[in-house]
Subunit: 124 residues, 2 copies
């Protein structure tokens, strides 16, 4: 049985802060994961209330998989865990930003470090 | 009449790249704006196909305002324009990342530099 990484540390969410988080009609809120050390934006995925609670309680990123309709403990299959270091919500309370330590090969299922590895085009 | 900032430079989007961008059922795709110099994530808002086209053609961030149902040329009211320096799409083609120069006071309508200025809580 795999031991819990030592850098998974919980965050306590107050009822006041919780009341500022707005979930959309599907009960989801977008969550951006940014590498704390480099500032690189790694990925954006979705959380429902349960995955947000699990993320904060477990100190590692737990998304909601819209395609599989289940909790998605990032890295449990790939080993590419994300440990939470800082967590923010935006002015409207409808987007979350997590600064994380990216373990394993990277955030992207393609093997890339970040999911944003393709350019839309070059500035002219 | 205000002159166009000299750092608004277009990006040409190829038909091949365009075919990889997936808009949701409302015809929207989330767009993350990150400050190119500091790496700070400034905001997340939405684009429809027209606002993406305008963003790339004009070289400045043009979102779609869901509350007003209209194109939102960031900064036209506040002066807080965002000039595009780099533009990426993610592995699923359903999220965009723009590296921008933030002009004016900041990205947030509250006057803060970033919309993510409030912490969900501290790591224990």
């Amino acid at each position: 049985m795999e031991s819990t990484p030592v850098d998974w540390n919980p965050i306590s969410l107050s009822d006041d802060v919780r009341s500022h988080i707005t979930f959309n009609a599907d009960g989801l809120v977008p969550a951006i994961a940014q590498e704390v050390e480099t500032g690189e934006v790694l990925m954006m995925a979705w959380m429902n209330a349960e995955s947000l609670d699990r993320t904060l309680a477990e100190g590692r990123m737990v998304y909601w998989s819209r395609s599989r309709s289940e909790l998605w403990r990032k890295g449990d299959t790939s080993g590419d865990h994300q440990s939470v270091r800082e967590a923010y919500y935006d002015c409207d309370g409808d987007t979350l930003l997590f600064k994380v330590v990216q373990h394993g090969g990277g955030a992207c299922h393609t093997g890339e470090r970040t999911c944003f590895f393709r350019s839309l085009g070059e500035v002219e």
